[in-house]
Amino acid sequence: MSLVTATIKRDLVIAARNPGEWLNPLMFFLMVLALFPLAVDPDPKFLSKIAAGVVWVAALLATLLSLDALFKADVEDGTLEQWLASGESLFAMALGKVFVHWCISGLPLTLVAPLLALMMNLPDEAYSALFFSLLLGTPILSLLGAVGAALTAGVRSGGLLLSLVILPLYIPILIFGASAVYHAGIEMEYVGQLGFLASFLCLSMTLAPFAVAGALKLNLSR
């Protein structure tokens, strides 16, 4: 077993021992969704109109929050140092970490979103669009987020800094994701949006791990 697969396995075991790691993003997602009707307007027609956007915003914020811990623990307890010392490919490591992160944040979120969209009175036609846009979009969120997390891993009060660094990069995904769902809701074509998400996913899958690896190396010279 190589160090990469061992790390993936280890991180999944840790997540299994700390159910909070994957339950908390879900709960946060749920709560942000619940805030809107309370703060703005609980009228079902109104909600149905904003559902697509709000679900996507909530998913984005939930992912953002779970990112903070992605590398921080590894930096603090010396795991990352051992990674760097081991001489194995940081690219593979980055991809592995992102994969685990997606498994415990993006994936559960994607699976649960259709249920929660019920609360927001999402039009019936939009459910499949919601599911597929999240399925394609959340890995991008994890990939881009990992870049920010790696950059801010060694930094005090990194959580907010991370949001600052990452949010502008998330905008295109938000726009296309939300618009796919919205268009599905008014029975319009949404293949284009999904296509954009898919190609962006490919792009970020090839480029983001490089940036992550470079950023992690910053911890070398501490």
Binding site: M1, S2, L3, T5, A6, T7, R10, V13, I14, R17, N18, E76, D77, G78, T79, E81, Q82, L84, A85, S86, G87, E88, L220, S221
Partner: protein
């Protein structure tokens, strides 16, 4: 700590150590820590870096381990710059720093399993034996957060029993160990050296006489 079995794995490594530093200089915050240092570390050496607090021992150690590139000069492994043959170098040396890379929610056994994942020749049985040898028998399945400071250090040190690398680089390995632990570790280092391995440590602890022991003093000029 009784040494219950012959340490056969010590002889597993085939490569021998040939590490050298050439005109290495390093400064931090306008203070020169060391300047034009030449160093040659070979098979059978046991080198202890000594010097007052803040002399630069940790800095030198990390630099020799290839974990710090912020210096002038060159470090070579078998005649090649370590950054050029990093993968090769990394597989031949073990670095244990202040941070132990131990995940607190995992058990000692699970932690060890991760550490050795790069060496497929290590058997599960070796892990159990190593834990037994560092007197953690019975703690294999206790999460590490419930272990005392010294017990956690023993988990990290158990790697010395299983990873087949000729060169060990250890930063203050005696920290938190009790008397028996210190005696065991000294003996183990001596055995490694006599079996043709190489050890490079920092320690404020006065090592008992071990054949091959050489001290390098840093920071006397201050």
């Amino acid at each position: 700590m009784p040494l219950s079995r012959p340490i056969d794995q010590l002889n597993r490594f085939t490569a021998h150590c040939d590490l050298s530093a050439h005109q290495v200089s390093c400064e931090r915050d306008d203070r020169i820590l060391f300047e034009n240092l030449d160093l040659s570390i070979n098979k059978g050496d046991l080198i202890q870096l000594v010097g007052p607090n803040g002399a630069g021992k940790t800095t030198l150690l990390r630099l020799l381990a290839g974990l710090n590139q912020d210096f002038d000069g060159e470090v070579r492994w078998h005649g090649k710059n370590i950054q050029q043959c990093f993968q090769d170098y990394a597989r031949q040396r073990l670095y244990i720093g202040h941070l132990s890379a131990i995940k607190k929610v995992l058990t000692p056994l699970e932690n060890l399993r991760w550490f050795v994942s790069s060496w497929p020749q290590v058997k599960e049985d070796d892990l159990w034996q190593a834990l037994e040898e560092v007197t953690l028998a019975g703690y294999e399945d206790v999460p590490c957060q419930q272990l005392s400071a010294g017990q956690q250090r023993r988990v990290a040190l158990a790697r010395l029993l299983i990873t087949p690398t000729p060169l060990w680089i250890l930063d203050e390995p005696f920290t938190a160990l009790d008397k028996a632990g210190v005696a065991w570790l000294e003996g183990h280092l001596a055995r490694h050296v006599s079996a043709g391995g190489t050890v490079l440590i920092t320690s404020h602890h006065a090592l008992s006489e071990i054949p091959g022991l050489r001290q390098i003093e840093l920071g006397v000029q201050k």
